[in-house]
């Protein structure tokens, strides 16, 4: 997406929550300047948020248990919310889920606003719920999330292991919006991060205009399922 000018850039500090309606025809780049960031993310069709990111549909349509360049994020209505058009991290986790207040308290101890102001310990679930409420949405609207820049390995017997060092400093992932997508991001640590310290990392966001996927778009051609997904998405706007 390097050709078009950046519309705006923004830093999301560690442990924070961010939301925006990504417009069809723009691309959001999420960059991990220091390495080892984690970005929990959920997505909705802004016009009808009952249509939302569906990880099982995204995985089984593309026969994957990880997300990277060339794959797309499906809604539960057979449409593509975002395409991953560039990725230098190589693996984004769709199975590990989000941290919550109990997990953060158990791992990192209790810190309160009254003692440490904005350095108090945050968690992804509460971040998502508060941000959802700003858009008139609630706990019933919270779907499973992806964790950008994180990786959880699955062994043959099904056991799960956090993969240390998945994302290198400067890694980025580009999400091209295929619809008008309410996007909610949270930068708390991955719930399986073995780091014993509360140390959420900041990420940089930048947004540019981007032409719609053409007939030879790599995400469209990556699987026959995705060609049909793009057709269904394009029909939504006819």
């Amino acid at each position: 997406m390097s050709g078009s000018p950046v519309l705006w850039e923004e830093v999301v500090e560690g442990g924070a929550t961010w939301s925006h309606v990504l417009k069809r025809g723009t691309t959001l780049r999420i960059s991990d300047p220091g390495g080892n960031a984690n970005v929990g993310a959920i997505f909705y069709n802004f016009e009808c948020p009952a249509e939302r990111f569906n990880i099982p549909d995204s995985l089984k349509a593309q026969h994957i248990a990880r997300l990277t360049e060339g794959f797309v994020l499906y809604s539960d209505m057979g449409r593509i919310l975002c395409s991953i058009t560039e990725d230098t991290a190589g693996w984004h986790d769709p199975i590990g889920g989000s941290s919550n207040a109990a997990l953060v308290r158990e791992k990192y101890g209790v810190t309160r606003y009254q003692d440490c102001h904005n350095d108090y310990h945050k968690n992804t679930r509460d971040g998502f719920l508060v941000e959802l409420a700003k858009w008139g949405l609630g706990p019933r609207d919270l779907p499973p999330n992806v964790n950008f820049f994180s990786r959880v390995d699955v062994a043959e017997d099904g056991s799960m292991a956090y993969h240390v060092g998945n994302s290198n400093p400067g890694a980025h992932v580009d999400l091209r919006a295929e619809m008008n997508v309410l996007t909610i991001l949270n930068t708390c640590q991955h719930p399986l991060d073995p780091n014993p310290n509360y140390d959420p990392q900041p990420v940089k966001l930048s947004i540019r205009r981007e032409p719609a996927a053409g007939p030879n778009d790599p995400c469209r051609l990556s699987r026959p399922e995705n060609a049909r997904g793009f057709t269904l998405t394009e029909r939504y706007f006819l």
Binding site: A50, N54, I55, P56, D57, L59, K60, A61, H63, I64, A65, R66, Y74, D76, M77, G78, R79, W91, I95, G96, G97, S98, N100, A102, R125, G138, P139, R140, D141, L142, P143, P144, N145, D153, V154, A155, E156, D157, G158, S159, M160, A161, P191, L192, E225, R228, G229, T231, L232
Partner: protein, 219 residues
């Protein structure tokens, strides 16, 4: 924990307080009380039983696939698995399992996902998420599409490879295999006995399953 724990139940079907056969392609919705046991029997083998659980006192507190598998560090559900809600409530515990493992990554089939996965012309084939919606709308209490989250597929075999691929394989279940759970709180149980005809999850031949409920065993 290991991905497979074969454990038989000591409960006798003659002592069950409820039993019902869910025909192929039909939904079932029922409230299980704390302490009761729910058994699902794969009567003819290789049948996917798409299932969701809700805290009966607050259905927004519902089964969470991601929290459940992360808590046990294993993607497969089997004996010993605690089925958690996103808010951390233990909804049920799997106490017996003669199949060995169950999927919670593959989700439920839908008209729309069938169009993506197989062909645009598949829109009108019967699908689990239609069954889920039909059942929750009939149940009432304000439940709707927002309550249809990522589900369990009992008896379904969806292996993940170390390279991060997801595959749908022939089932490892057989006629008469079952999974049994103890409710740790009052739980609303929603089942779609999967009507999928496009992949091997039902061996291309959806069949009935049986549900049985026992009262608490004094444990």
């Amino acid at each position: 924990m290991s991905g497979t724990r074969l454990v038989a139940s000591r409960l006798d079907p003659r002592d069950a307080v409820y039993s019902s056969v869910i025909a192929a392609g039909e939904p079932w919705i029922y409230e299980i009380l704390k302490g009761q046991y729910l058994r699902i029997v794969d009567l003819d083998g290789n049948q996917a039983v798409d299932t969701l659980f809700y805290n009966a006192s607050d259905p927004s507190d519902r089964y969470s696939a991601q929290d459940t598998i992360r808590s046990q560090r294993n993607i497969y559900l089997t004996t010993g698995t605690r089925l958690l809600s996103a808010a951390g409530t233990v909804l049920l515990t799997i106490v017996a399992d003669t199949c060995g493992r169950h999927d919670t990554l593959g989700g439920a089939c839908a008209n729309e996902s069938n169009m993506v996965r197989y062909a645009l012309e598949k829109r009108h084939m019967h699908a689990c998420r239609n069954s889920f919606l039909k059942a929750v709308l009939a149940w009432g209490h304000g439940l709707d599409k927002r309550d249809i989250t990522a589900n369990i597929n009992f008896f379904m075999n969806v292996p993940v490879t170390p390279e991060g691929r997801l595959t749908f394989e022939d089932g490892i279940s057989e006629p008469g295999k079952y999974v049994e759970m103890r409710a740790e709180t009052d739980v609303l149980t929603l089942i779609s006995n999967c009507p999928q005809l496009n992949n091997p999850c039902n061996a291309y031949h959806p069949t009935p399953v049986e549900v049985l409920i026992w009262n608490g065993q004094g444990d």
